[in-house]
């Protein structure tokens, strides 16, 4: 739907807390950076990882779908996240949903493939800065040490009392993406801002 309403003002799930996120980032003097990355294209892809479609889709996107659980593969603006043995989430820049969906369907041909635009289902929070890992550790039970959760790792897990998809970005200093269901985004932003109190 991202392409649908160019004349209509779009509102992202966290537009109403953008100021507070920016203020926390400023006050932390570089320790923490919090920001929403709104309107990213997100496409859920389901197909048989061992079937012909997997390779064909990888070729068409110039991005092999990761087969290793809880990993991500990046190529240019596009990131593919492993969500399950037959499930991936493709994340790209805003507005690319339809094009992506048709490229996948075309590549899959007659092979059964499910493609669902879920761009608005979750929004993305950027959590970076030297204390990003400490901040997340207040509510995320996973081991986020670079030895355990370094570049290229992702996980579906919980943060505070909500489910998230967590992605370690390429460089350790680039921090994390936290993908959260849009309806929980306000709660999670409040939670992160509260947990960040000590660092800001």
């Amino acid at each position: 739907m991202a392409e649908t309403a160019l004349t209509v003002p779009l509102r992202s799930p966290l537009s109403h807390v953008a100021d507070r996120l920016a203020a926390a980032t400023r006050t932390s003097a570089g320790a923490i950076r919090l920001a929403e990355l709104p309107f990213l294209t997100q496409i859920n892809v389901r197909l048989d990882a061992k079937g012909a479609a997997a390779e064909a889709v990888g070729l068409a996107l110039d991005l092999p779908l990761p087969l290793q659980p809880n990993t991500v593969v990046r190529a240019g603006e596009l990131t593919a996240l492993w969500l399950g043995p037959d499930e991936w989430l493709l994340v790209g820049s805003p507005g690319g949903g339809r094009d992506l969906e048709s490229r996948i369907r075309e590549a899959a041909g007659d092979e059964p493939v499910s493609v669902t635009d879920v761009s608005a289902q979750r929004t993305t929070l950027l959590v970076t800065g030297p204390r990003a890992r400490d901040l997340l550790a207040h509510g995320c039970p996973l081991d986020l040490h670079p030895r355990a959760f370094g570049a290229g790792r992702s996980a579906q897990t919980t943060l505070g009392r909500t489910q998230i998809v967590l992605v370690a970005r390429d460089e350790p200093r680039a921090g994390f993406w936290v993908l959260v269901r849009s309806s929980f985004a306000g709660y999670l932003a409040d939670w992160l801002l509260d947990a960040a109190t000590e660092y800001i």
């Binding site: 739907m1 991202a2 649908t4 309403a5 004349t7 209509v8 003002p9 779009l10 509102r11 992202s12 799930p13 109403h16 309107f39 859920n44 389901r46 659980p69 809880n70 399950g84 043995p85 037959d86 499930e87 059964p112 499910s114 669902t116 635009d117 879920v118 761009s119 608005a120 289902q121 979750r122 400490d134 550790a137 207040h138 509510g139 995320c140 039970p141 996973l142 081991d143 040490h145 996980a155 579906q156 897990t157 919980t158 505070g160 009392r161 909500t162 489910q163 269901r181 849009s182 309806s183 929980f184 306000g186 709660y187 999670l188 409040d190 939670w191 509260d194 947990a195 109190t197 000590e198």
Partner: protein
Amino acid sequence: MLLIPCPWCGPRDEAEFHYGGQAHVPYPQAPAALTDEEWARYLFFRDNPKGPFAERWSHAAGCRRWFNAVRDTSTNEILAVYRAGEERPETLERRAVPARPRPASPARPAFEDEAPSGPIGAPGAEPPARDTTQPYRLSTGGRVDRSAPLTFTFDGTEYQGFRGDTLASALLANGVIQAGTSIKFGRPRGVFSAGVEEPNAVVQIEAPFPEPMLPATTVELYDGLVASSLPGQGRLATEPDPARYDAVHAHCDLLVVGAGPAGLAAAAAAARSGARVILADDRPELGGSLLGTGELLDWVDESGEQLDAVPEVRVLRRTTVFGYYDDNHLLAVERRTNHLGAEAPEKVSRERVWRIRARRVVLATGAHERSLAFADNDRPGVMLAASARAYVNRHGVLPGRHAVVFTTNDSAYAAALDLAAAGVDVTAIVDTRPEPGQWADRARAAGIEVLSGHAVTGTQGDARLTTVTVAPYGEAIAQREFAADLLLVSGGWNPVAHLFSQAGGKLRHDAALGSFVPDTCRQAVEVVGSARGALDLAATLAQGAAAGARAVEAEGYTAEAPRLPAVAAQPRQTPPLHVYVVPGASDAPRFVDLQRDVTVDDLARATGAGMRSVEHTKRYTTAGTANDQGKTSGVLASGIVAELLGVDISALGTTTFRPPYTPVSFATLAGRDRGALHDPVRTTALHDWHVAHGALFENVGQWKRPWYYPQDGEDMEAAVLRECRAAREGVALMDASTLGKIDVQGPDAAVLLDRLYTNMMSTLKVGMIRYGVMCRPDGMVFDDGTVIRLAQDRYLVTTTTGNAAAVLDWMEEWLQTEWPELRVHCTSVTEQWATVALVGPRSREVLGALAPRLAVSNDDFPFMAWRESTVAGIEARVCRISFSGELAYEINVSPWAARALWEAVYEAGAPYGITPYGTETMHVLRAEKGYPIIGQDTDGTVTPQDLGMSWVVSKKKPDFIGKRSHARADTARPDRKHLVGLLPEDPGTFLPEGTHLVADSVLPAPPVPMLGHVTSSYRSATLGRTFALALIKGGRERIGERLYAPVGDHLVPVTVASPVLYDPEGARRDG
């Protein structure tokens, strides 16, 4: 918290998983061919074995895969996991491993040249001078900072102490030993110990923040502290706690609990290996028992500095590990700002819970000294021997001036010698052993009289001990009296096995020690030092270093032998004498549990009443149930009960140790999960608009839904009547975005939905919508909603708001475990769409105005059809669905554009008086039409037929989930409860939901036959009266009957009616 290994994602916390019951119970191939009994066996019967059990789990908060696990039901250990469809693998029950390695520790690490050192009983040393403002304070020595005086108040009197004091040590420095009165007898009680085991000096902190029941022996002194003594019971604060509390998850290769000699050596051995090590200790500084004995303090300081410098080592001071759970998950509480008093920074959490997942654990938790049960053993001035020694060495405080020592073992001699060296007049050491050996010789050499083969048989003194009576052990002759204000007691040592025991570890009785020591445990844990019964310092250091090295080597790191300090040569040990009750003729009470005022006589009454287990005597007498949890009294009580029963203590054991090791406040455990963050609030893209327009909200699951929009001082009744009228007579709009939405895609999508819904979904045409009901295999309604056919191989399914996740889980469970051959996928798209319900006879005009390219006439856009169009310039999927019986549409758009759509609809509807409405109006409108709400009008015992919805149950399909159950005798009973309408005789009488219904106008004698209950009740603007929906036995056959509803003291007459009270012909649907 179990760590469950997902076959895909690896080990994750149990909280990420859903349990799915017994595995390998396949859905019968032909349910229709089964007898009722066979079908009931499939539905209701499951195995319940003790031991390995194969069961289904879903990684619900992770990859959403269902898998199987073999779990030992008696230990909760996961023995194997395997993917759905795979055979159950062979599993072996794991065996508990010894808490220490079977082969004795490797050759002990190299020590520096052993040389006599330390303060122990240096005879003839000059007693240090005393501080003048604090009469019992030495002018030198101890770990306190004499340049940092602190002022505090206790029971209204102001005193001075120093940084490094505890409240107890500062009180003792000022000559105050009484710190409360006992809970039952009101007897004065004094500081008894120097640590967490304190049973007596449990005080109330009054300022800066009120906190009840804290041991004065663990409260760090700060400037401005105000505390008062308690009569054994504290007071909760009446004001809200302004402090912050938080939690942190931590992971490590090795967690060392306790930074005494064994723990420090373990951490030092592991530190430089590169392994991630956490060392936690409950005191502000490292050293453990060494702080009390004053030994090896240079090594302690140096080791602490080295550990602090290693990046992968985290030293947690002021941190008590209080719980040891499954899979090496340990909880600890760090006291971060308590010791700062009013200076505590606001932004920093006061206490923090550490949730530590450790690959390996070394417990170096030390030992607690045991008391002895002798007559009047509770007077202020009676103190554990090693604790008195700690006050001298750690705080530079004399706990008294004239001391008698009463012991059954060697350890009290070192205490006596340290006290004597510090200037205490140690009059006598009373030793129950006939030949106390080399330690006694050393004491005598220091000028202390040793009475071997003697015991203390009584004490005197009110506010403080004045006299100690001593006699030959077991005899009443030749009594001697000593003037003393301090009586040091040592009945031996109890290893602190609490955490080990919580971990599932077994204890065994150690005859030499006279106590219980760790034996075996199934978790990856080792116990070292005095926690394992080693009371010799050199052995303790060696054990610690070896265990630390073993732990990190087991994790693949190479340990480096740490520098261990030389230990002064000690006199040869003489075995202790195991004494619990000290014999004597006195009638005076001999206390076992000081905090609960439990005596030897109380335990005798318990055994006399037939109690044969310490668990029973504990509950009969309350011994060990106070907030010290019997740390000084537990083993003593076991020993006494054993004597009373004439059995060996090894056969009796101890009571069970349960978390927390020391009390933890609820505020700390809650952390930031309180107030607005207590439970997540889910909001729609339109939430801000609702707030701005004065909506009151209803919680539906975690969602906040507008309940109604009161205007100009309206109450709920007036607002809802107005909103209902607008929907029935004009046009109204509602935010319906919270409905669950699932995209079902793939060549077999229709097959899946035909199996899950009671009605046929494969025959639905693309472009059309059908209402559907899902049942559980037992035939009871589970969820309902609409199904939209988007394409030949694609549907969009809606669920009730509160059930969205459960329905998706349900679909995945069947797909993944029973029907993996179906080529179909289910994806949640609940938040991908925002939904605006546009309702009322004028809704077509409003929609038409906003969607000029959409043909909105009834012929072009019939009921239960959907169209893609542009509404207010926004791409939309418009569905002609009605949950009110009126002409209605649901407009679905991207939530990013929802606000723009909503405002456009609101504006376009203004000429028709468009009215926003909430869930209450929605409920009234649907109830007038007899549409049930799953979960409100149903409760898991209601079939579609009970709801009067046989039309939604397919007769053509060979099977669907629930079909076989609809043919069971029970579901065909004529007296099942049916959903019907109820009309109170008086149209103004409102029946509360939940009201029961009876047949007669006069209540018969109980038991009163109940016919059913009210499930929904409203006032209807359209009907001009109240009405209700109810589940009534044989209800459809009772339509027109008079029943009675007991409301308060009245029996309200009501008439049973059809559930459809408004527009039964459906004339309004098409506008």
